[in-house]
Amino acid sequence: MTASRRLDALLAEGVGFVAGVPCSYLKTFFAGCAGLPESAFLPAVREDHAVAACAGAWLGGTRAAAVMQNSGLGYCLEVLASLHLIYGMPLPMVVSDRGDPNDFEEHRVLGQRARSLLDLFDIPWAEARPGAEAADAGWLVAAAEKARRPAVLLIGKGADS
């Protein structure tokens, strides 16, 4: 058990490697990551490197998940497009859902377009439901594995647990 129920739910789905960049909406998830063995968590310096490291872990036979703020989707996009989406790499992604009209300006432009961006690249996404950690993790891993592509669980304020 880690400090995060969402992380525990992903581990229960067979995830053995996590890479990501912190977000203030994901403090609990990252507190959980801090409790993982050193070989199972990569505190990445930018989101593109996080998803690329997940690709490496998956090639080696380990189910890998990425975690980031939705602004990181921009940094990731080229890697998702020219690595995961063409090699058929499943990638469960835990992504904060920032950018509502009350959020700071710097989160709004990409945040309010994140769903459209994911739709444009045929990346399945769902909103996390508070208290439904196991079901959300089950959907996320199955969606990524079945389609052999990235899938995104959006974590809104209050859904980080």
């Binding site: 690709a55 872990a57 497009a81 020219s82 090699y87 058929g88």
Partner: protein
Amino acid sequence: MTRAEAVARVLPLLADEDIVVAADGAISREAYRAMDRPRTFYMVGSMGQVASIALGLAMTRMERVVALDGDGNLLMGLGGLALVGGMRPPNLYHLVLDNGCYATTGGQPALSREVDLAAVAAGAGYAWARRCFSAEHAGEALDAWLAAPGPAFLDLAVDASADDPAPRVPMTPEEMADRLRAALAT
């Protein structure tokens, strides 16, 4: 020594179980032409991510992971160098085939003649990092790199002159991923 000659020189030095991540562009194509092996991952895109892909493998596998990188490629994703240096996986061996330019796209100059990549790697935390800009010492440098404690980094200068172009790897990206996954599952 051209880049293709350097690639052809390195691959036979590796053990069969070593895992290779070959950079997108000419390096992957030359690695395939020189010595295809089931444990090589051939990148076709995602420039700048050679070290990060290798790191994901090195953190989750016991075997040695060899990253065959380019100078322009590494400069695009220099954060990957910080990740390897910071995580210090002892089984990661990083080689930069440094021609000082973007050869795949027509030879436009890269900043690698101004930036000492080995010094950056050493500063990032690699256990061993060297630069070899002399062709006559390339063989010794490669041997020393592979014998060094990991993570080890070698910035090896190669001629910028055009090699005989190698054809694209005749597998789909999905076939390449599945082949490596299958080789590592046995």
